[in-house]
């Protein structure tokens, strides 16, 4: 069974459109994350949720809105897509640990904005 799954794997869309990426984990973790990996492979935290509560919100445009319907799901909705949003988006999950828990990553969603 896949531990952390994301859909879709690839997303190609036009500038200005709205799109969503879904993430589910079956590891029983209480914390979930969204990361953006740019073309230089730098992995940047965007959001983190613990028990459905937003705990990390980096400097991300408010066009990006995460939603956590329950502890096992964290979806990412993006409004008015821009060219600079093209990247690979990774969902991850972990147990909540003060020292930084081991994170399990999904396979990524490659978003291309044309």
């Amino acid at each position: 069974d896949t531990a952390v799954s994301q859909t879709p794997k690839y997303l190609v869309t036009q500038m200005g459109n709205d799109k969503s990426i879904k993430c589910e984990q079956n590891l029983g973790h209480d914390t979930m994350y969204w990361y953006k990996q740019d073309s230089k492979k730098f992995l940047k935290i965007m959001f983190s949720y613990n028990n459905k509560e937003l705990i990390i919100n980096e400097t991300v445009p408010n066009r990006f809105s995460p939603k956590s319907p329950d502890k096992a799901h964290l979806n990412l909705h993006i409004n008015s897509l821009e060219l600079g949003d093209s990247a690979v988006y990774f969902c991850a999950s972990s147990k909540w640990e003060v020292a930084g828990g081991v994170q399990f990553f999904g396979p990524g969603t490659r978003l291309t904005v044309l």
């Binding site: 952390v4 914390t31 230089k40 492979k41 730098f42 992995l43 940047k44 935290i45 983190s48 613990n50 705990i55 990390i56 990774f90 991850a92 972990s94 147990k95 909540w96 640990e97 003060v98 020292a99 930084g100 828990g101 081991v102 994170q103 399990f104 990553f105 999904g106 396979p107 990524g108």
Partner: protein
């Protein structure tokens, strides 16, 4: 803001050679994790080190956490083509306010040629 600098950014070697990747910071981390990412996939944990001066071995890979918990290194002995990938170090924050957050380094792209 805690930052982790990895070096080198790119490394291309021949099979059988040894190599070391470095991860440095001016900040103290509660733990240091190393991940490996292959094309089209999410990062996968290799090891976690938590004690200053700790050394862990995983077959041909040796991981060390600096005494002051500000730096780490990954040494690979007799590299194989299967070691090719992006290696990421990630530091766990210190203190309750850091939560379960990890700070990722910029990554080292390793290519092992046959």
């Amino acid at each position: 803001t805690q930052l982790l600098e990895q070096s080198p950014q790119f490394l291309s070697i021949q099979e059988g050679e040894n190599l070391t990747v470095y991860c440095n910071s001016s900040s103290v981390f509660s733990s240091l994790q190393w991940y490996r990412q292959e094309p089209g996939e999410g990062p996968v944990l290799l090891v976690t080190v938590v004690t200053g001066g700790e050394v862990k071995k995983l077959k041909r890979l040796t991981f060390q956490f600096g005494d002051a918990r500000k730096d780490s290194s990954l040494h690979i002995t007799a590299a194989q083509t299967g070691d090719t990938g992006l290696y990421l170090c990630a530091g766990g924050g210190v203190g309750e306010t850091s939560g379960s957050r990890l700070t990722f380094g910029e990554g080292t792209q390793l290519t092992v040629n046959p």
